[in-house]
């Protein structure tokens, strides 16, 4: 016998943990301490049935806390005080005596706490917490119905199992409905959490300006910046274009709008489709494989130099599709404002100017100047490094001639300055290089560590991509490492789960709904028997399979293994005798007697010895029965 209070208590503890856990890191220290302490104290109190806090004291304390936090709420700080109040109220409720109503309050507070966490962050933990909480609360409510009528009620294990089995159907059904409604319910482009929570944007390693020497060392940010769903590509092709920095101001490369009237077009190249899931960013740049031709699925503005920016700033995760032309030629249409791309600030060192002059001497071809500059870089024995970098006063000069170590910004910047000094129009391109290919999904992961800068020079009437970092003596190894960083197995799995979470939940918005509806409509219109591809059936098939599987497993779970084995045996016997069905009034022994097969006799003897003597089959017996069934089936064949 189990008193109903016990499972109810366990469910409330579980609900509290599930409600508060996703929120925990965002709580204030008071709530961070109070929540686990109250849970531990509450468990101890429930065991002893003695509580430190009386009903009136608890109410008074709750009111005081409420008043204290209520004064801290304003238009800009709304969520934090609310979730703190919720957690503290929950803590108070845990350490007071519990009636049916109090259990209900705990469940409600746990649900609100979890809902509150979604206003602060919507990470992967939210879904399992939500699913488990739905299960706990629903089962808890069913038990509360019994508890409400008699708080001392006790059930036998069998009865409890039956109640729990029935109670499980409710959350299972509601979760399936949730899945359905998630796909079709109308939604806004601006989710609530986004509006209330403007500070969650991440900063990537990517920056809008490039100023080599600004820091003595460059610690890359390992945070995720975006994921790209695309076909697998050779590592050396993985240049993700973000911005173009075309103006050198003192020692800093910045972006200015390209000269008015300038136009560039793409020629040739191999089209590559990508779907990009971009994490929240501080800026509005959109990334795509170099060179991007077209961006769809998002409102964006494209400049003539193939830089795309979000039309409106947003702090949420976005997804969009891009088509890039791999190996295409980026050609200016009409005359290029070369002066714009040759601008240099004053204060360039004489040594640099002299070097440029010597590299340019006797040559009028841009291609030759580029080749000579590359040779010069190689000759300088430069190393790719992220620490012990040149100082801030004359970083480029120091990089090329004395320190001879730096990271991509040094390489790109110095290369571009040299080319500009030689009279070759040049600009920097900022973005990412490489990416980690997932072992389990068809996508690349790009983190801040992959941020990269390279050069585009106008050579033979086209903007040619040059990556001076490759000219470092250790460039090949450094860049190859950026191409594909091996991941731990568990990390890969977590990453793939997060990827699908982002793909299926976070970036699923009105646009995706419309896209889905349009796609379905189009498919229905063009539906021809026998012309459906396998992927068309994949999702509905998987859902159907999942539903059938759940129901089947649920029913199987309720049937004891002994009865299942008996049913299998009788089905086999019926087939053998070409009977539709063996009547329910026929005993196993009489069926075996009719079959006149020693294996059947043995099967029935083993099974009967267990079921009619009120005991379960031992593992050895179960195994033997399965073997016998298999043999019987084989003989039947």
């Amino acid at each position: 016998m189990v008193t109903l209070r016990r499972p109810l208590e366990l469910l409330t503890y579980a609900s509290c943990i599930l409600g508060v856990a996703p929120l925990y890191l965002y709580l204030q220290p008071l709530a961070q301490i109070a929540a686990p302490a109250a849970l531990a104290l509450g468990i101890a109190c429930d065991r002893r049935d003695r509580y430190p806090l009386g009903r009136h004291a608890a109410t008074l304390l709750s009111l005081l806390l409420f008043a204290w936090y209520a004064t801290r709420i304003d238009r800009t700080v709304l969520v934090e005080p609310v979730v703190n109040i919720l957690v503290l109220l929950l803590a108070i409720r845990l350490v007071t005596a519990k009636t049916g109503r109090n259990y209900l309050q705990i469940f409600l507070l746990a649900i609100f706490a979890l809902a509150g966490s979604s206003l602060l962050s919507l990470n992967l933990l939210f879904l399992p917490a939500l699913v488990l909480l739905v299960f706990c609360v629903t089962i808890g409510l069913v038990l509360l119905c019994f508890f409400g009528s008699d708080s001392t009620i006790a059930l036998r294990w069998k009865e409890l199992r039956s109640v729990l089995g029935t109670a499980l159907l409710l959350p299972a059904g509601s979760l399936l409905l949730m899945l359905f409604f998630f796909a079709i319910l109308p939604r806004t482009e601006h989710p609530l959490w986004n509006f209330l929570n403007p500070a969650a944007a991440a900063s990537s390693g990517f920056s809008q300006t490039v100023s080599p020497g600004a820091f003595a060392s460059n610690a890359a940010n390992p945070e995720l910046v975006f994921r790209v769903e695309s076909a697998e590509l050779p590592p050396e092709e993985l240049y993700w274009r973000g911005t173009v920095l075309n103006h050198l101001r003192e020692n800093t490369w910045v972006r200015e709008e390209p000269p008015p009237g300038e136009q560039e077009r793409l020629r040739g190249g191999r089209p590559i489709e990508q779907t990009i899931y971009l994490e929240p960013q501080n800026d509005r740049f959109l990334f795509a494989l170099d060179l991007p031709q077209d961006l769809t699925g998002i409102r964006s503005r494209v400049s003539s130099d193939r830089v795309s920016k979000l039309a409106t700033a947003t702090r949420k995760r976005v997804s969009y599709q891009a088509t890039s032309l791999l190996g295409a030629r980026l050609e200016p249409v009409g005359k290029v404002d070369t002066d714009f791309y040759l601008q240099l600030p004053p204060g360039i060192s004489e040594r640099l100017r002299a070097t440029a002059a010597s590299l340019a001497a006797g040559s009028s071809s841009a291609a030759e100047k580029v080749a000579r500059t590359e040779d010069f870089f190689r000759g300088q024995q430069l190393s790719y490094a992220t620490d012990d970098l040149p100082g801030t006063t004359a970083p480029i000069d120091e990089f090329l001639f004395s320190k001879k170590r730096g990271y991509c910004e040094f390489f790109a910047s110095s290369f571009a300055i040299l080319l500009r000094l030689e009279g070759v129009p040049t600009r920097l391109v900022g973005g990412f290089f490489g990416g980690t290919r997932s072992e389990f999904g068809n996508y690349y992961t790009l983190t801040g560590t992959a941020a990269h800068v390279w050069v585009e020079a106008l050579v033979d009437g086209r903007w040619q991509r040059l990556d001076p970092s490759r000219l470092a003596q250790n460039g090949a190894t450094i860049l190859a490492a950026a191409g594909n960083r091996p991941q731990a197995w568990s990390h890969s799995l977590l990453d793939v789960a997060e990827y699908y979470w982002t793909r299926a939940v976070i970036t699923y918005d009105l646009g995706s709904q419309l896209h889905l509806a349009r796609d379905a409509g189009r498919k229905l219109r063009t539906l021809r028997p026998g012309r459906l591809a396998a992927p068309d059936f994949l999702l509905p098939g998987a859902i159907l399979l999942f539903l059938t599987g759940t129901i089947w497993l649920g029913r199987r779970w309720r049937i004891p293994v002994e009865r299942r084995l008996a049913q299998r045996f009788l089905r086999l016997a019926a087939r053998r005798y070409h009977l539709k069905e063996i009547p329910a009034t026929a005993g196993l022994e009489s069926v075996a007697r009719r079959l006149k097969d020693p294996r059947c006799t043995e099967f029935v003897a083993i099974l009967s010895r267990a079921i009619y003597r009120d005991r379960r089959l031992t593992p050895v017996e179960r195994q033997r029965l399965r073997v016998l069934l298999k043999e019987l089936r084989r003989r039947e064949d």
């Binding site: 004891p560 002994e562 009865r563 084995l565 008996a566 049913q567 009788l570 329910a584 009034t585 026929a586 005993g587 196993l588 022994e589 009489s590 099974l607 009967s608 010895r609 079921i611 009619y612 003597r613 009120d614």
Partner: protein
């Protein structure tokens, strides 16, 4: 490993089947089931099919004391129980035991005895003791009543009351033997003479031990208890039946099923055991509604057995 004394009991069955009771195997097994379950047996069939032979053969093979009463309408209760007579030498009344003070009492054509005499046996069958003139005498252990009765209404018969029928654990017919068998019987004549040659095959202690085994070691699982209950409940809710099986009937059904399992060398009961004994144990206890009285009770009960699903785990 067979249950205790199973070999000895089996020897009785084999010997009787082969020697004297051709074609009466079912009746013989049911008789032994009644004996092992500690109940009484009612053999019900038209005269001349071997009811008395069966009873005599059984008692001869069991090596138990045997008493026989040929019931007639002028049979008095004291003819069964015994009576006190005045012993002049001792100068006091002395109790002379009647035939009921035997291990096996064969009450032949019991329905010919008048109700008063029939009811004299009630206490004996249920309580295993007899009270005469204010003194209670215990009956020997084991005590088994084998009664025979003719179903066809004849002049001078008194049908057994329901209360007494309920005290018989098993009621069964004998049935006509098969054609070949009957011809063989015709050819060689009756076998009453051979009965005298049957030597006891089972001692009283053997029988008591076998009975104890049936009672204590043949397991009746929860599933079977539930099955028996569902059967009994079905007789109570059947539209043709006025009064279904009593709790005593259900207890008897369980005991008989245990004995049936014992005869099959099993130490647990299976649904087939219950099905085997359901009609012999239950049919005679049913009271049909007046409008369905003409229906054979056995068939009504058989239809119920054929409608209740057996437990299969």
């Amino acid at each position: 490993m067979p249950p205790a004394k199973h070999a000895e009991v089996q020897k009785v069955i084999d010997a009787l089947e082969h020697r004297v009771l051709h074609g009466k195997e079912r009746a013989l097994r049911l008789s032994l089931i009644a004996l092992l379950a500690g109940g009484h047996l009612l053999l019900e069939d038209i005269p001349g099919l071997g009811k008395t032979t069966l009873a005599l053969a059984l008692s001869a093979a069991l090596g138990l004391s045997f008493g026989r009463i040929q019931c007639t309408s002028d049979l008095l209760p004291s003819d069964i129980t015994g009576l006190s007579i005045y012993d002049r030498d001792a100068g006091k009344f002395r109790f002379i035991e009647g035939p009921i003070f035997n291990n096996i009492l064969l009450a032949d054509e019991i329905n010919r005895a008048m109700p008063k005499t029939q009811s004299a046996m009630l206490e004996a069958m249920e309580e295993r003791r007899v009270t005469v003139e204010g003194t209670t005498y215990p009956l020997p252990e084991p005590f088994l009543v084998i009664a025979t009765q003719n179903p066809v209404e004849q002049v001078g018969t008194y049908p057994l009351p329901e209360s007494q029928l309920d005290r018989f654990l098993i009621a069964t017919g004998i049935g006509y033997p098969g054609a070949d068998l009957e011809k063989a019987i015709i050819r060689r004549g009756g076998i009453r003479e051979e009965l005298r040659d049957i030597a006891p095959l089972l001692s009283r202690d053997d029988l008591l031990e076998a009975r104890r085994t049936v009672r204590e070691q043949i397991q009746l699982g929860e599933l079977l208890i539930d099955y028996i209950y569902r059967l009994v409940e079905a007789t109570r809710n059947h539209p043709y039946i006025l009064s279904g099986l009593s709790t005593r009937g259900a207890i008897n059904l369980a005991a008989a099923a245990q004995a049936a399992a014992y005869l099959e060398r099993r130490d647990y009961v299976i649904p087939e055991d219950v099905q085997l004994v359901a009609v012999p144990v239950g049919a005679h206890r049913l009271i049909l509604r007046p409008q369905h009285e003409a229906l054979p009770k056995q068939e009504v009960l058989q239809s119920i057995v054929a409608s209740v699903p057996v437990p299969r785990g």
